[in-house]
Symmetry: C2
Subunit: 218 residues, 2 copies
């Protein structure tokens, strides 16, 4: 009844520690992070239980608390690690750029590649599916679809010769831009009218216009 049994502990099939074994703090911590990321991605933050993460590590719950303090702390550690990785990858890619456009392009490809290969984790975050009930995330996505349906026809009418996939891409770009700008302008105390102007200016002329303006004025 006391002490712990030496039961054979199966974590995920591909991982080796079939028999519960003591590990150094750092090793255990790395393992926990990896497992946590997986479980969070699988069920979403809310639905993920500390119990399950602990179990998959072949360890009991209090160990998680020993190392990460709380469920929030564990998520935070996952995020911090992922963020560092994303930053390293994109910054490295951009460092090879020869001119501004090239640098930007390299950065974008690195970014999209990273988010693509870590797709499960990023769906969890970018999407607010993380901490919100599934239905809520769905409702927000529906709001975006509505916006999509307001914007896409305009672009299509505007430039009839363009392919559907590009219309879609550009529509998504505008929607994403709007969301970020709406947040930014409350922080920076920018009026809705100015925000709309910046957005329109950018969407209309793009960086090319910015370049010309910038280098004429300068």
């Amino acid at each position: 009844m006391v002490g712990y049994s030496t039961v054979t502990q199966t974590t995920s099939p591909q991982e080796r520690p079939a028999r519960r074994k003591r590990m150094s703090r750092e090793a255990r911590e790395r393992q926990m992070l990896a497992v946590a990321e997986e479980v969070f991605a699988d069920h979403g933050y809310r639905a993920a239980s500390m119990e399950e993460i602990a179990e998959r590590c072949g360890v009991s719950k209090p160990m998680l608390y020993e190392y990460f303090g709380s469920k929030d702390g564990l998520l935070l550690a996952c995020l911090t690690r992922a963020r560092a990785e994303l930053h390293d990858v994109t910054a490295a890619a951009m460092a090879e750029g020869t001119d501004p456009m090239d640098t930007l392009t390299r950065g974008l490809i690195a970014y999209y590649s990273f988010t693509d290969s870590h797709r499960r984790s990023f769906e969890l975050l970018k999407n607010e599916a993380a901490g919100l009930p599934y239905a809520a995330a769905e409702a927000v996505e529906e709001a975006r679809r509505q916006q999509h349906n307001l914007i896409a026809p305009i672009l299509a009418q505007w430039a009839p010769g363009i392919g559907d996939i590009e219309i879609e891409a550009y529509t998504e770009i505008i929607i994403g831009a709007c969301e970020r700008v709406s947040l930014w302008c409350t922080v920076r105390d920018v009026t809705p009218e100015d925000a709309a102007r910046y957005t329109i200016d950018f969407c209309w002329g793009g960086l090319q216009a910015l370049y010309e303006r910038g280098n004429v004025t300068a």
Copy 2:
């Protein structure tokens, strides 16, 4: 001990129903939605408790469950209402547009005005502060700051004559666009390279280029 006392029930000070009173289902439902939106905005979804929402309504917890089924259901109802409102406002504004650019501009102003005036609710959603621990939202925001610091200097170097606030605005636009595109391209199965191309094309030439291309090709 049985039945409920006729204790004077104070909800929020500015609201009138000082004395607990029976209400029709629709009236109670509307009140609950309003209170819930406020409480969710105040504490975030996670930290908000059904108990508090019920209390502020001057009613007991099971009533909330009677009307909305669950905490998730309550949030969902709030979202659905807000989404409908946002859609109505922007669609109405756009209906008055005379040409594509004008329509887009009107839509943007309506959108930014709406999110600005409902700022508290939208911080809760747009930000993932909703269901995630505060520290986690902070960590994601930090990731965006890193991206900002990668992109802004390029734009500044690229167009030296442009004001700082515009650089900031454009940087945020690009960041928002990237997030949305990264999600979109996993759904539509677009390669990172194509995604980068769409993004760059849009950012470089903007809609103007799209227009010219579209109407020459057509």
